[in-house]
């Protein structure tokens, strides 16, 4: 890494960054975009290929209807128009990741266009204008052998697995995003995070960045402050985590600012993000501009979604995650901090289901965010993987609310449920955990405590109420914690009044 970098704050004092984000999403259809090969991730290399996705002569592609439906739902969720008529196009290029020597994509007729979404960074809303969402197919996966780093430079040869070739892909492209200023890297990160949540709630993709089912190319250019003409942009690839998105953009902003401030020129190029070193380096060097010679795909007929179909799909859109979280926080009446704990702990679905099962929001939050989060953490499990259901947590909280058990006993009930001893009420019964409400037994225990500690008893008779603590403690101990401390206190004071 030899790039000159300007301090980030200095760079932002001189320049306004303009973002452009291209996100590729692999759809989770069972079969590929144009053939019936499986899309299952992780299969043995080249076991999921056929004449169509290998581009053998004479093979004919047919569009996967489910993929088109997913593409339209994504477009609608992005607030896009859905094309009344559109075509696929061949994007011609020579690279061994595609046997056909072209990628079937869409060119000037995307299925969805002109949308916008609003995301938030530190409570400030930013509108991200969407240029288009179009359908295409993924390429095969190259493995470079022989190079020192495993990257292609210096590689002696490459090995290719075509299982991924032809997997349905949606490319979502923003228009230039201006006005994000200092927050630009965080806005980009928040946007991709928003897309991830949205795509997950649509159920159209696994959206796993680490498996490559959600990939982001981050474009950025700088405009000198006070000017309006877009600068030359660079496109950073290989940005494979949310954290990398903001880090790569921050790096590019600092690098470009240093070049511009010293009177240099930005080269329009593709750059590669190196996660380990935290820097970008120039990627594919082209002697001339790309010429993909797009033309309409003759083997696939146009797609003309009826307006009825579009409206029917619009009706299937789930509540968008950002809308849902806002609504739930309001309904449950949590502060930002209380609600933030739920989000940070990935407990939103669980708390919601627990509330739906009859628990108070505060009760549901308390168990999932504290006690159960701790146990999941200790066991190395996701919260949702714990062997306790929202319904059981709701039942537990109801037992507490009814005074059958206290919080301390409730933890033992959780032990029992997690150990597979049954429903909360069964655990209470089988472990004998209920708070003792038999007044005869309690009174007897109180009398024994008074008899055992005459000094404390005398002090209380003399009006020193704080001395009751010792007697209450003795009673609770005798009852093995299975008593309501407030009831014991009332009983002690009554006996000695």
């Amino acid at each position: 890494m030899t790039d000159e970098l300007m301090d980030y704050d200095d760079a932002l004092a001189l320049y306004d960054p303009v973002l452009g984000l291209e996100v590729h999403v692999e759809l989770n259809t069972n079969s590929k975009m144009f053939c019936g090969c499986s899309t299952e991730f992780g299969a043995e290399p080249n076991t999921q290929t056929c004449p169509v996705c290998l581009g053998l002569p004479g093979s004919l592609p047919v569009v996967n209807g489910k993929a088109v439906e997913s593409a339209m739902r994504i477009g609608l969720a992005l607030g896009c128009e859905i094309a009344e008529w559109c075509r696929f196009a061949r994007k011609n290029y020579f690279y061994p990741d595609m046997t056909k020597d072209f990628q079937t994509s869409q060119y000037d007729e995307p299925i969805a266009f002109d949308g916008s979404v609003t995301i938030e960074v530190d409570g400030v809303p930013y509108e991200i204008p969407i240029e288009r969402a179009h359908m295409e197919e993924d390429a095969g996966k190259l493995l470079h052998v022989g190079g020192a780093t495993g990257r292609i430079q210096g590689a002696e040869y490459s090995l290719i697995d075509y299982n991924r070739a032809g997997v349905p892909l949606i490319e979502i492209v923003t228009k230039p995003v201006r006005g994000t200023g200092y927050n630009a890297p965080e806005v980009a990160k928040a946007y991709v995070s928003f897309l991830r949540d949205m795509l997950r709630s649509l159920g159209v993709s696994d959206v796993r960045m680490e498996q490559g089912s959600l990939r982001c190319d981050a474009n950025v250019s700088l405009m000198p402050k006070g000017t309006h003409e877009l600068g030359t942009r660079t496109e950073t690839k290989n940005v494979n985590s949310l954290r990398s998105i903001s880090e790569a953009l921050r790096y590019e902003i600092r690098r470009q600012a240093a070049i511009l401030a010293s009177g240099g020129r930005i080269i329009q190029e593709t750059r590669h993000w190196h996660e380990d070193g935290g820097y970008t380096s120039p990627g594919r060097n082209k002697e001339q501009a790309e010429d993909y010679r797009y033309f309409p795909e003759p083997d696939l007929v146009p797609i003309a979604p009826s307006r009825e179909w579009v409206e029917q799909l619009r009706g299937t859109l789930p509540e968008m995650p950002s809308v849902r979280t806002k609504r739930l926080q309001e309904v449950w009446g949590f502060t930002d901090r209380e609600f933030g704990d739920i989000l940070a702990g990935s407990a939103l679905d669980l708390v919601e289901a627990t509330v739906e099962a009859g628990a108070s929001p505060a009760g549901a939050r308390k168990w999932w965010v504290t006690e159960l989060a701790r146990r999941a953490n200790e066991a190395g499990l996701e919260l949702s993987e714990l062997a306790i259901t929202p319904a059981q947590v709701a039942a537990l909280q109801k037992l507490v609310d009814a005074g059958t058990i206290n919080d301390k006993l409730a933890r033992q009930v959780i032990d029992g449920v997690l150990a597979g001893e049954g429903e909360p009420d069964e655990v209470v019964r089988s472990r004998g955990l209920a708070v003792v409400s038999d007044s005869g037994a309690l009174e007897a225990a109180v009398d024994r405590a008074i008899a055992a500690d005459p000094d404390a008893a005398q002090k209380i008779r003399d009006g020193k109420v704080q001395a009751a603590g010792a007697l209450i403690g003795a009673v609770m101990k005798e009852m093995r914690g299975q008593a309501d401390a407030a009831a014991v206190r009332a009983l002690v004071l009554h006996r000695l009044s």
Binding site: T29, N30, S31, C35, G36, C37, S38, E44, P45, N46, T47, Q48, T49, C50, P51, L54, V62, V63, N64, G65, K66, A67, V68, W85, R87, N92, F94, Y95, P96, D97, L142, L143, H144, V145, G146, R151, I152, Q153, A155, E156, Y157, S158, L159, I160, D161, Y162, T270, H272, G283, R284, N285, D291, R293, P296, P298, L300, V301, P302, I303, P305
Partner: protein, 98 residues
């Protein structure tokens, strides 16, 4: 709009076809004839005749999202000039990054 041998050389480069100077000079006027013929068709078509990319007026031909058997990996790799670890082996690509 006569095509020059340079134009043809660029097209040949894009298509990864190796042509000699003599071939470029020979092909340029031939391609010209094709382009002129197509241009004549364009003249005949009025503005109310839409461009046609498909011979049949079909739209929305879809398959069900159902997995069908793939080819056996042995027959797939039998088509590869070289294979290793069940993968196609190809020469390294110079000056490019994946």
């Amino acid at each position: 709009m006569a095509l020059t041998p340079d134009d043809v050389a660029r097209l040949a480069g894009l298509a990864r076809i190796d042509l000699s100077d003599a071939e470029l000079a020979h092909l340029a006027p031939q391609l010209d004839v094709i382009l002129e013929s197509v241009a004549r068709v364009t003249e005949v078509a009025n503005a109310d005749v839409p461009a046609t990319s498909h011979a049949l007026p079909l739209v929305n031909v879809f398959r069900q999202d159902v997995v069908t058997p793939s080819l056996p990996v042995e027959s797939v790799l039998a088509m590869a000039p070289h294979a290793e670890d069940n993968r196609f082996a190809v020469p390294r690509i110079l000056g490019e990054e994946a």
